[in-house]
């Protein structure tokens, strides 16, 4: 499925790089929030069921299979954070510019 909406992305700052850093920061903030929510669920369930303690968490060592799963997850995670960089490339590949967007505004407004 396509991940970038067709149409040149507007820029708001004088330095477009700032825009990307902000997008990354917000994606990261989102993922931290997802994680925090999941951890909260786990800790509450564990506590409610008397399953494990904080010391158990500290003492845990992942198996090779678990380590591999985690690595896969990390790759997806990083791709999500760097989404905006990948999308810029897509835009360049499609030849989208601010002028090409303005041309659409003019076209649909007058034809």
């Amino acid at each position: 499925m396509p991940r970038k909406a067709k149409g040149q992305r507007p820029t708001f700052f004088t330095d477009p790089q700032v825009e990307k850093v902000l997008a990354m920061t917000m994606a990261l903030a989102g993922e931290v929030s997802v994680l925090r929510e999941r951890l909260d669920t786990v800790e509450r369930l564990a506590e409610a069921k008397g399953l494990f303690s904080r010391q158990d968490i500290e003492a845990y060592r992942p198996s090779a299979r678990v380590a591999e799963e985690r690595e896969r997850w990390r790759k997806e995670y990083i791709a999500r954070i760097l989404r905006v960089v990948h999308e810029e490339l897509e835009a360049i590949e499609r030849g989208e510019t601010a002028a090409s967007y303005d041309a659409v505004v003019r076209a649909v407004s007058s034809s």
Partner: protein, 384 residues
């Protein structure tokens, strides 16, 4: 936080997907209620005085407001965050839909029941105003298909709309339909349509309320996008509503002259183009019985709005892939309707309150997501 009804077609979210979507919802709400109002302060205290110093007069329209606001760092960061929140929304929903797409396609097929109907036309051309850019940044737009019997665009739209409007269009996203019906029942209590047509129905959020509001009517709904219609039909079946969906361009349909007593549309017009709009008006005129009525729900026209409010409402034109939004809202609608044959004296333009209680939690601002603010919609209509 308002939750959406988990009807049988709505994509299921895993724990993390739900948390990711909740984050976007919370971010949008924060931007709308806490960050966005600051733009007005920046405008009054910095941008407007700067404009007055330079030109010896106040900005007279939203274009002039935009010229001075675009250099304000506060406006820049709000805009950047607003755009990012939109992209994160589609990403958070599309990734969840993609994971379960085969299951969603299967569920749509299971809901092909006997209630209503679905007629697709794979040869129907997708209008250029939909292929030029992906409207409101939904990757792939309404029409793109990635597998046979694809419903992805519909599933994504159903879930994303709820996040986009921060839940304030109700648990079934049906505020627009409900509100227009509430207005019709009050303003036209004698209206008893036997045939109703909903133009640009998308997944039928606004269509379904007409089935209950006018139980004696046959309800028809059209859209150009097949994935929306497949999903809409299955969703209507699952919710037990009888609607006839067909894939047609509202500019020129296959229905016979004088087929409908009532024609409605909900936030369709701003997603078309100048010539398409004229065609749609003419088509409404052709399809209505004499005395029949058309009503279109939209966000308000800029005329009469404070230039700052119009500027904020116009943000989507340039920053959210809504290229026709601005041009529509500056158009003379009486002239538009009368060109198509409607008598100028029979044209209605009015603001209507939202029928939903949740709408009251909207901000009073004119901005995308809150739309008209204060839970109001703009209605443009005419009788034949």
């Amino acid at each position: 936080m308002y939750e959406q009804i988990q009807h049988p077609l709505l994509p299921q979210a895993t724990h993390d997907e739900r948390a990711r979507q909740h984050f976007v919802h919370a971010l949008k709400e924060h931007l709308a209620t806490t960050v966005s109002p600051g733009n007005r302060v920046v405008y009054e205290k910095r941008a407007k005085p700067r404009f007055v110093r330079e030109t010896q007069r106040a900005p007279q329209n939203h274009h002039e407001v935009r010229r001075v606001m675009k250099d304000e760092p506060y406006y820049q960061i709000w805009s950047a965050l607003q755009r990012i929140s939109q992209e994160m929304m589609w990403d958070a929903v599309a990734s969840s839909v993609e994971r379960q797409l085969p299951d969603l396609v299967a569920r749509a097929k299971q809901n092909k029941g006997e209630l209503g109907s679905l007629t697709l036309n794979p040869d129907l051309p997708i209008p250029p105003y939909h292929t030029a850019v992906d409207i409101h940044c939904q990757p792939g737009g309404y029409h793109s298909e990635t597998c046979p019997d694809d419903v992805a665009a519909g599933a994504i739209y159903d879930r994303a709309v709820h996040i986009y409007v921060m839940g304030r269009m109700g648990p079934l996203n049906d505020d627009l339909g409900q509100s227009l019906i509430a207005y019709l029942k009050t303003a036209y209590p004698d209206l008893q349509p036997r045939t109703i047509l909903d133009l640009g129905c998308a997944v039928g959020h606004s269509t379904l309320p007409y089935v209950d509001a006018y139980p004696d009517a046959e309800v028809y709904a059209i859209d150009v996008a097949a994935p929306m219609l497949r999903y809409a039909h299955a969703r209507a079946q699952a919710l037990g509503k009888r609607v006839h969906f067909s894939q047609q361009n509202a500019e020129r349909t296959t229905f016979a002259d004088a087929s409908f007593d009532l024609i409605v549309s909900h936030i369709l017009l701003h997603e078309t183009s100048a010539s398409a709009l004229r065609n749609i008006m003419r088509e409404c005129y052709r399809l209505l019985v004499p005395g029949g009525m058309m009503f279109h729900v939209e966000v308000p026209q800029y005329g009469g709005l404070d230039p700052y409010d119009a500027f904020m409402l116009d943000w989507d034109t340039y920053n959210n892939n809504e290229p026709f939004w601005g041009a529509l809202h500056e158009m003379d609608l009486v002239a538009l309707a009368s060109e198509a044959g409607f008598a100028p004296t029979r044209v209605v333009q009015t603001m209507i309150p939202s029928a939903l209680k949740v709408a009251r939690s909207r901000t009073g601002l004119f901005q995308g997501g809150d739309f008209a603010g204060r839970g109001q919609w703009f209605v443009f209509g005419a009788a034949k």
